[in-house]
Every structure is written in C-alpha cells, then in structure tokens.
Subunit: 361 residues, 3 copies
C-alpha cells in the first residue's frame, strides 16, 4: 500500500462524526457490562475519547477482545479500557480498566455506536427532488437530491431517502427507514427501521412467463413486497414482488449484498441470507434460518426454523428445522465431509497402484 492511501485508523473523521468523551460508568451502562477499575492507577477523570484496536489504542481509547485468536494482543495493549469476556478479565493489563461482558461483541457494538452515532434525518425535501403532489411525506423526513417519490407514496417520520432513490407509486414506508442511494422501491410496504443499502431493487416484476404460440408471454405479477420491521438489505440485492401472493421478508431479517429473492418467497423472523445466495420463487424460510454465501434454494420448498444452509449449498427439497446442510445437492454436514474423505481415500487408492505400477490384485 502506498503512503497516499494509508489509513488513519478506525473512525477517520473524514467519514465519521464522533461523540464523547464518555466515562467508564456511562460506557458500562450502554454496554450492559460490568466496569472493573485498573489494578494500577485509577479511572481517568476525563473519560474516554474514542475506540481503537488493541494494537494501536492508547490510554484515552476503548478497545475490545472478541475473538480468542487475538488473545495474545491483550497483554501488550495500552488501551485505557478493554471490553472482554469473563474468561479474559484477569488477563487485562494492570494499567487498563475492563468492561466485562458475557457478550463482548454486543457490548463493543454498543460502545462503538455511542461514540459514533448514526446521523439523524435532516428534515426537508431537496429542491432537486421530484415528489408527486399526492405523496405524503412526513415533515421530519429527509429527501435527498434527485429522489423521485411517486403518486400516493407515504414516507414516515424521520425516514432518510438518499440521493437518486425512487419510491414508486403507492409504496409505504413506516417510521425511521433509511433508503440508500440509487435504490428502486416499487410495489412495496416497509415496516419501521428498515434499512436498505445502495442499488437494491425491490418490487420489480418476478420471472414469470407462459409459453405462447409466438414465444414467451409475461404473466402479470400482481403481488407486492413486504419488508417487516427492522429488516436490513445489502447492496445491489434484488427482491421480486409476488405474482399473486406477496413476497415477505420477516421482522429483523438481514440480507447481505447481491442476494436474489424470487417472487412469492417468504422469510420468517431474523433470517440471515449471506451474499450472492439465491432463494427461488414460493420457497418458505421459517424463523431464524441462516443461508450462507452463494447457496441456492430451488422454488416451492420449505426450510424449517433454525436450519443452517452452508455456503454454495444447492437445496432441492425441504430441510428440517435445526438441520445443518451443505453440498449440492444438500446433505447433512457430517455426511458431506464423510463423502469428501471417502472419495479422497478411494481416489488415492485407485491412483496409487496405477502410478506405482505394481499392478497386483
């Protein structure tokens, strides 16, 4: 990396605003963690100014250890305060205070958010936005430049619609949604606090056609897309609207980038779909299902609650709740890796004599 592109560390002020300082007690409350003063010295009267990784943090910084593979960094850190799990509490250096939490990653997340809160909506409609006269935009919402809001659309309190986004005719957004740049929303209803990253396409025609005498004929797609409360959608992901019923993403679910959701698919609560995975039309995911990266699910199947679909998995039939599957076609994790081992063994055996040349047997 050249010096011109070197990073100035996390939370570069070019990009991130900063709150604080905060004292240890305030951070403990935000984190839901227990504050343990340093064994040597005392808590700084001026509080902590920001966050930093273990290796670069100083006395004014909060740092954290989440992954035990980085435990060796704990000993040498100069961080003034470290968030750790109970098992590591006594390994924090003597000069550092600790925030002890049984969920240190969650605690870290909340502390980082305290220092770097999301910018609130700046109410108002940019003069270069095009908002239909029949649309209802809450006065506390922020509408960026080059945004289009269609007829009868409704945009709730404190929503942020970033530049170039399109909110189509009749689309409804509840409070506190954040819509990224260049997003296209049509035929959709959004719950509260829905977050959509740039370039997402929601509500376009599903892939439905009948074979006619002169080629394919498009079947009208007459449903919509429903994104329930607290759904988050990654960049350039596509979600087609339903053909007769709706396409539904359940409350709290999170989709990563470049994911495809076919028409009439229904995801339950708190599902996770990782990047480049695809879920075909009319397939149902119950609650808390995880679909790993690049996995593909055929249409018209049902995935039981808390099932986990592995990366690149090809799922051609129903999966029971709680199951762990991988492979294409999908099978239980254990079976997949046993198959891999067996085939490797057979393959070595087969090639061994052939290459070795003994030829016997």
């Amino acid at each position: 990396m050249t010096s011109t592109t070197a990073s100035s560390g996390p939370a570069d002020p070019r990009f991130f605003t900063r709150s604080g300082p905060f004292d240890g007690q305030a951070l403990a409350e935000a984190a839901g963690a227990t504050l343990v003063p340093p064994r040597e010295g005392s808590l700084p009267a001026e509080g902590y100014a920001g966050i930093a990784p273990l290796q670069v943090a100083g006395a004014q910084h909060v740092s954290f250890l989440d992954n035990r593979r980085y435990a060796h960094l704990l000993e040498g850190t100069k961080a003034g305060l470290v968030i750790v799990a109970p098992a590591f509490a006594d390994k924090v250096p003597a000069h550092s205070a600790a925030l002890v939490s049984s969920t240190p990653y969650l605690a870290w997340s909340r502390v980082a958010r305290l220092f770097h809160p999301k910018a609130p909506a700046q109410p108002g409609i940019h003069p270069l936005a095009v908002v239909d006269a029949s649309a209802v935009v809450d006065p506390s919402a922020e509408i960026g430049p080059f945004v289009v809001v269609g007829a009868r659309a409704e945009i709730g309190p404190r929503c942020i619609i970033n530049s170039h986004a399109v909110v189509g005719e009749g689309v409804v957004l509840a409070a506190d949604c954040r819509i990224g740049c260049h997003v296209t929303l049509s035929h959709a209803t959004l719950g509260e606090r829905v977050i959509i990253l740039p370039g997402v396409r929601i509500g376009q025609d599903g892939f439905g056609f009948a074979v006619g005498p002169n080629g394919f004929e498009t079947v009208p797609q007459l449903g919509q897309v429903v994104l329930e409360h607290d759904v988050e959608i990654g960049a350039n992901t596509t979600i087609d609207r339903g053909s007769v019923n709706d396409t539904v993403i359940g409350a709290g679910s999170r989709l990563d980038n470049l994911v495809q959701i076919g028409h009439n698919a229904r995801l339950g609560r708190c599902c996770i779909v990782v990047s480049q995975a695809g879920i075909s039309g009319s397939t149902v995911l119950e609650d808390y299902v995880t679909v790993a990266a690049q996995a593909g699910l055929i249409g018209h199947i049902r995935i039981g609650a808390k099932a986990r679909i592995g990366a690149q998995c090809g799922v051609m039939s129903d999966v029971e709740g709680g199951a762990d599957v991988i492979g294409s076609p999908a099978m239980p994790f254990r079976e997949f890796f046993r198959n891999v081992a067996v085939l490797r063994k057979l393959s070595k055996k087969a090639s061994g004599p052939a290459e070795g040349g003994s030829g016997k047997g």
Copy 2:
C-alpha cells in the same frame, strides 16, 4: 407478519390499475379458451370484476387452477369463473363457470393482463431530463425525470424510459421498449418491445486485458450489445459489449436478475437464463437453451439447441443439443444423481464398520 403489513390480496389498487368488468365471452376470447356456463345458475349479466386466488375469490372473480398440487382448493372455491385444464373441467363447482384451456397458465396470464393492462407511455420529456440536442426521441415516447439521453441516440415510438436511466451516445431503441429506473445503456442496439428491469448494466467494457511490463493493460472493447426483439432482462443483470464482434441476445430470450453475460457471448432465440447464472465471453447458446440459477459456463464453448443446464452447474465444454446436464463439472442428469447415490452408499459402508467397530474384513 404484523397486521400493519398484511396484504390486501392480489392487484392491490395502491399499485395496480384495473380494467373491466368483462363478460365470460370476452374473457374466453382473450384467453383462447372455451367458456362453460355453470351447471347451476347462469352467467352473471354484469360480467366479472377482477381476479383472485381460489381461496378468496367470490362470485365476481376469475380464478385459476394451474398446478395440480392445488387441486384440492377447487372444490371449495366461491369463484364465479375458474380457468382449468380439460382434466379438471368436471371438478369445477356447480355454481362456477369454467374457462377450459389446454394451456391454462397461458390463459390465466392473458385474462390477468386484460384486467390489469400495462400502463401506456405518457408522451413527453420530463423537464428535469437531459436530452442531447442531436438525439432523436419519438414524440410518442415517455422520458422520465433525471434521464440522460446522449448524442445521436434514437428512441422509438411509445418507448418508456424511466427515471434516472441513461441512454448512451448512439444507442438505438426500436418501438415499444421499456427501460427501468437506473438502467445504464451504452454501445447498444435494441429491437422492438425490449424490457429492461431496474439497475441493469448494458454495453460497458468487457473484462479484457493484456499483461504488460507494468501490470495489466486494458484491451479496447470495440463491439456493441444487440438485444433483439422481445428480449427481457432482469434487475441488476450485467451484459458486457463485445471486444471485436458483438454480444447478442436473441429474440424472445429472457434473463433473470443478477445474471452476467461476458463479451462476445451470443444467445439464440428464446433462451432462458435464471438468476445469478453466468455466461463467459465468446460462448454461444443456440436457440431455446435453458440455463438454471447460479450455473456457470466457461468461455468459448457452444451449447446446442434446447439443451438444459441445471442449477449451479459448471460447464467446461460443449453441450449437445437437447442434453440435460448438471453438476460441476457438468454431466448428464442421470449420471450425476447415480454418482450421488453411489458415493452415499460407499460412504455409509466405509463409516459403518469403523463406527460399529467389528473391524473384520
């Protein structure tokens, strides 16, 4: 799903306009189907008002049965008119009329389109569009807000260019094309009735470079993209222009969302490419080829007419016309599933004694 996000059924008037009512004979003609009056009662003088699924339809609705897995719903429906295949004609309730068709899904598609026609172009150029003085825009075309039309571009009769789309220099659109929001068209020629969903990228540089003394050097990409009549392209799909020859998508072909088409690829007529599939540079698909979701085709190969490439298939060499292949590397369907079965059997056998512990043999 919370009550705030519950759907009001298909064809919600928030999103869809409605035509009608239509009487049974008009619907039969549109559908190319045979009208069978109800066994009890008579055809309603006022006609039918709209469409609905079997479970919720009333006397004023048209419904349909296409998939035999839903045949049990037919008996209890209250729909005034049901579209069915001949085999189900006598299972339609006595109070319902029937539209009998050997292609009920196609018939349904046409009836649904009659009730919910596509909105026609609203001629005119939005005052916030930027149209080059040398571009030729037919007066019947609709140009939305924030659209850019480049020098010497030509936009045919009744085309609809939705907001934020870019029609690059010299790009030509024949009549009745519909270009979605945020689409980028460059170096391209479109036939009639081409439909492009939001976020599609057409005509950008292909992935071509030579190794030079100081790194890679881009090879100029001097072809274009040709989309023939009636092509439809799904959201966020990418089609690179040719390097020397053109990239061509044949008449009537349909691409789903997030598909990648490399430079110089040529698809024949009525090909289907499902979501997240990728076709590498210079590969040729003859007519009526189907490529299922997440399949990948290497470059410089030829896929024969009517071949079907299965989901997640990895195709490294030519495929004969009419063949069904799947797996990575691709093989005939039958061989693939036989391999899966054989490996499972070997794997169980191998693990059995080891786990069982007899150790003999």
Copy 3:
C-alpha cells in the same frame, strides 16, 4: 438476427471515435513490435485507417492473430498489416506487412487504443450536478449531470465522474479516475487511474451484527475502502468498507462484474477476481492471485501469492502460494479431476451389474 440489428463491424462510429491514419512505423512504435514490409509490394504511403478482424480486413486495415485456433484465417486475409507472434511471421500473406511481437495481444491492444483513444475529460461541472461547497473539484475534472459530490470530497485532475454517480462525504479521488454512471462511493480513498464501471457500490456498511436480546444489532462499521492505483472494478460489483481496519484492493488489481468483497478483505497487487466470485470478510489475497468466476472464499483465510482459485471453487482454508485449486471444498486441480474420474468409474461399475442383473460377486 434480423437485418435491423446487424452490426456494422468493430468500432462502429456510432459509438467510437477514431484517430489516424497511422503509418507502419508509428504503429510499430506504439506496439513495441518489429515492422516487416510485405514480400510483394510496399508499405502504403497513406498509412492504415483502422482495425478489423482477419476475415473482413482490407488493405487499409490492421488485423491480428493471437489465438492459434484462428491460424487458418491468416492465409486468406486481405489485411494490409497483421500483428503476429514470431512463429507465424512467415505465414503472413505476401501482400501484407507484419508487426511481429512476442506479445501480440498486448501489441494489438496498444494499436487498437491508438486508433480509438479514450475520450479525455471535458472540464467542468454540469449545471444539474449537486456539489457541496466544501468539496474540492480540480478544474480539469468533468462532473456529469445529476452527480452528487458530498462535503469535503476531493476530486483530482482529469477525473471523469459520469452521470448519477455519488461521491460521498470525505471521499478522495487522485488524478485520472473514471467513475461510471450510477456508482455509489462512500468512505473511500482512490489512487490514480482507478476505473469503476456503472452500478458499483463501494464503502457501504459491511455485514456485521451482534445478537442482542431483541434481535440482531448492527455493529458500527468504522473503516473505509482503499482502492490503490490502477484498480478497475466491474459493473454492479459491491465492496463493503472495513469494520475496524480497511478493505483494500491492491494496485493494478481487476475485479469483474457482480463480485462481492466483504469488510476488511485485503487484496494484494495485480489480483484478478472474475465475475460473480465472492471474497468474505477479513480474507487476505497476496499479490497476483486469480479467483475465477463464481468462486467463493470463506472469511479470515489467506491465499498465497500467485495462487489460482478455479471457477465455482469453495475455499474454506488457507491456500499456499502458487497453488491451483478447484472444487467445493477446494483441492488441487489434479486431485479434483482424479476424484471425478474415480467416481465416474465406480458409478458405472455399480450401476452395470445392477442394471444387467447378474448379481454375482
């Protein structure tokens, strides 16, 4: 293909500007190749007017032979000048001059660029762009219509920002970058000559969340994206910013369309990532790594320099420098294809007797 959509050959003047003519010596210098006059006749005084494929080129055209599978076309070409490798120099027709180069594809690339140079920036800010008062835009840069440039952003000399692109707050572009239509740049630093094709998303939130008592809680993503000199990014690709450290794409690397790069990933110099491949968070690619189409790399692993990851490969652990791997899970090329052969053999054997029915043994 209908006649209305037939191509007029490479470098259609609808789309491409043309320089020239150039004489043989100028082309030889640009190409770093040796000029060999025709065995019959002499070099044309007027030079050469353009480029064309072997099959259609005339006396005024430069053509090339790179791929030996097209060697049979050399004999019959009418091209005035042909770029060839030394092994083919004596197969050039007597009436044609030759440019002989040990890297004919690179030579071709440079000749084609000479005839069809990239259009330079047209300095100025379009009146329908929205540029923050605190942004610094070099007077030689071109800012297209509907572009948004955020607070404190910096745009270097001769950069081209195409229509609808968004350059977020604090984003810095060094000289000679070209940003495609509808690109979203946020939390990012770009080196010189970075090229980004349409629809790319750079710098958005990574996919990071902790499990809280009421569902997932987003972990603040406080890093940025660094694109070093000469990086090129394909259409609709997504690169998330780092969570604590940065996401880095090394100098000269090239990413194709629809690629996903997770937060904190680090690519070295001159890496190649082909379309629809995905690299998960915190994974490191050393220099000159190639990742083929639709491959997927799990997070937190390291790929050694010059390793090659095959198409659709699923990489779950570190890969040594220089290794060639393929399959899911990844294994050496040789092992993968041996496994395929062994399984095919076992499968045929298993099915043979079963179908034949002898049942013995």
